[in-house]
């Protein structure tokens, strides 16, 4: 969106067309009671260089990953973003305040989203993907609703307690006013979802398991599929680390009905936790149950390819009360970013980056084990793992942030009270061997 200021003359012309005498006249339908009376009370205007200085000063008060060694993932990952991405994505054709879906004028954006959907289905091994959602949590909550709509006789959804805590909260928020209920599947001492507990559950419409789960472990999705099939319920799986599919067998190959995921790892900055990129993919059978937007390829009157929003008859601009979802927004710019990222790194690139993540995480785990940390769980993991820390670690951890610019792990106790002194670590391709060795030395 270009910045085009209006001259007084422009404003007068527009007012004349609108049939208003003045700006106040234009807004006279707004009741006086809700109008601001005494102006906006803003500080004095600044010159461009003053404003730049001021904003930089404000920004420097934040601690962000830049200049830090980030060993925390937990749903938001510090990956390298190729230089081409910020350049391309900031082009005004993409970075616009308007969501351009009118096929007559938006073929570029629509094709971009169509390509994004295609890449998501390839990555996850699914038939169909939506144009994106706010984040993994909302995509997962939408999947829970689909399951409840499909299995009308059930009023519960089973969710692994190793699904990201925030995502479980979002499901809870969605279900609270509905009378439906989320039941938690406990985890085993190995840090995996307890299949026996799932088998014993009745009256559930679907099961949701995250893999790699919140502890970083790779779940046995084949086992989840078996239980879901035996119970004739929907098998939903989620993930927070999209790059895992560079080396792991994808959800589609395990027969998942629905997949919800976070795409932040695909070229999108952490930006203090959002906006993210909610991925949602399903089987063809569920095509008409998917919420949000879908872009399809069609033919125009000349027989040429053209891209349009499709299957949107169930959405709220057509029928508000009975829409399959009341969030029809998609994170268009982030979806475009992910498509650019995936096409930049390619099939071989994603495998290499994923392998690097895994190898570095293995190295960090052994380095910490050598420094007196206790590996509590044993299942295979991708780039995150849990360690039990020595007693005095928490003091050192705070000190590491302030003195060494290292974020050394996430304290798990607030999320799993039984896990005092347990920390969730993550290593991405950005962490160097020196940094990991240095950390091990500091905490030993």
């Amino acid at each position: 969106m270009r910045y085009l200021p209006h001259t007084q003359e422009d404003i007068q012309k527009m007012l004349a067309v609108a049939g208003a005498g003045s700006l106040d006249d234009l807004f006279k339908t707004i009741p006086d009671a809700v109008k601001v009376k005494d102006g906006l009370n803003l500080p004095e205007p600044m010159s461009e260089w003053e404003l730049n200085d001021y904003m930089e000063k404000l920004a420097s008060e934040n601690i962000a990953c830049k200049g830090y060694t980030c060993l925390i993932g937990a749903g938001s990952y510090d990956h390298y973003i190729p230089a081409i991405i910020p350049y391309l994505v900031s082009r005004s054709e993409f970075a616009t305040a308007y969501t351009p879906y009118q096929p007559e004028v938006s073929q570029g954006t629509l094709q971009g989203i169509y390509e994004f959907q295609t890449m998501v289905t390839d990555l996850l091994g699914m038939d169909i993907a939506t144009a994106s959602h706010y984040d993994c949590g909302t995509a997962l909550a939408e999947c829970a609703l689909i399951a409840l709509r499909k299995n009308k006789k059930a009023d519960k959804i089973a969710v692994s307690d190793l699904v990201h805590p925030s995502h479980r909260e979002i499901i809870d928020t969605y279900l609270k006013p509905t009378g439906y209920e989320m039941v938690l599947i406990p985890h085993t001492k190995d840090g995996l979802t307890d299949m026996t507990a799932l088998e014993a559950m009745d009256g559930i419409a679907g099961v949701a398991v995250q893999s790699p789960n919140f502890f970083g472990h790779i779940e046995d999705l084949a086992a989840v599929k078996k239980v879901a099939d035996a119970k004739k319920i929907l098998f939903i799986t989620s993930f927070t680390e999209a790059l895992a599919w560079g080396i792991l067998k994808n959800p589609g190959s395990f027969g998942a009905d629905l997949v919800a995921g976070e795409g932040q790892s695909l070229g999108i900055a952490k930006t203090f936790g959002g906006p993210g990129l909610g991925l949602l993919a399903g089987t063809s059978k569920l095509m008409r149950d998917l919420p949000g937007r879908l872009v399809g390829r069609a033919k125009d009157s000349n027989g040429d390819d053209g891209y349009v929003l499709t299957l949107s008859t169930r959405e709220q601009h057509i029928r508000r009360e009975r829409a399959s979802s009341n969030i029809c927004s998609n994170n268009g710019l982030n979806a475009m970013t992910a498509a650019m990222y995936l096409s930049t790194i390619g099939k071989i690139g994603i495998r290499e980056i994923a392998q690097l993540n895994h190898d570095k995480a293995m190295y960090l785990k052994s380095a910490l084990a050598g420094a007196g940390f206790e590996p509590v769980f044993d299942p295979p993991f991708f780039n995150e793992f849990v360690m039990k820390a020595p007693r005095d670690f928490n003091r050192k951890r705070i000190d590491l942030i302030n003195r060494q610019c290292v974020f050394a792990g996430l304290d798990l106790a607030p999320y799993y009270p039984e896990l005092t002194d347990h920390y969730l670590f993550c290593a991405t391709e950005k962490v160097s061997k020196q940094q990991m060795d240095q950390l091990a030395k500091e905490v030993a």
Binding site: R288, T313, R314, I318, R319, R322
Partner: protein, 132 residues
């Protein structure tokens, strides 16, 4: 859009206020959407049907019909159990547009109380309702 006078409304079926039709045939009742409904919806692309064996009360929602313009729910004219669904509609939903009373039928029901049919409208009463 058809004018009311152009609508094909057979004399030998019953009508509901939601524009379904129902026709008793021995101990089953065949149900579909009528000419007015298919004409209003426009080109039908998908019919969502219940499973054989499902039971419904009169006025329960039993499925939906999707056109290029909108999705519309269908409601049971009478109570009963689904004994057949028109599987041809999965590949040929346009049958509902082309021939809503024959090849475009949607479900067959074993009624729990056949006398519920008496509460439905005949052609004259239905036309009266349409004209408002």
């Amino acid at each position: 859009m058809k004018d009311i006078n152009e609508l094909n409304l057979p004399e030998d079926v019953k009508y509901t206020k939601d524009h379904e039709w129902a026709k008793a045939d021995g101990d089953t009742v065949t149900i579909g959407i009528n000419d007015y409904a298919q004409d209003q919806l426009g080109e039908i692309v998908f019919v969502e049907m219940p499973a054989v064996g499902d039971s419904f009360s009169a006025e329960d929602e039993f499925g939906s019909v999707e056109s290029v313009k909108a999705v519309s729910e269908m409601y049971m004219p009478i109570s009963g159990e689904i004994v057949a669904i028109n599987e041809d509609l999965e590949d040929a939903p346009e049958n509902v547009n082309e021939d809503c009373y024959q090849s475009g039928w949607i479900i067959k029901v074993k009624p729990s109380d056949l006398s519920e049919m008496d509460a439905l409208m005949d052609k004259a009463a239905y036309l009266e309702m349409l004209k408002g």
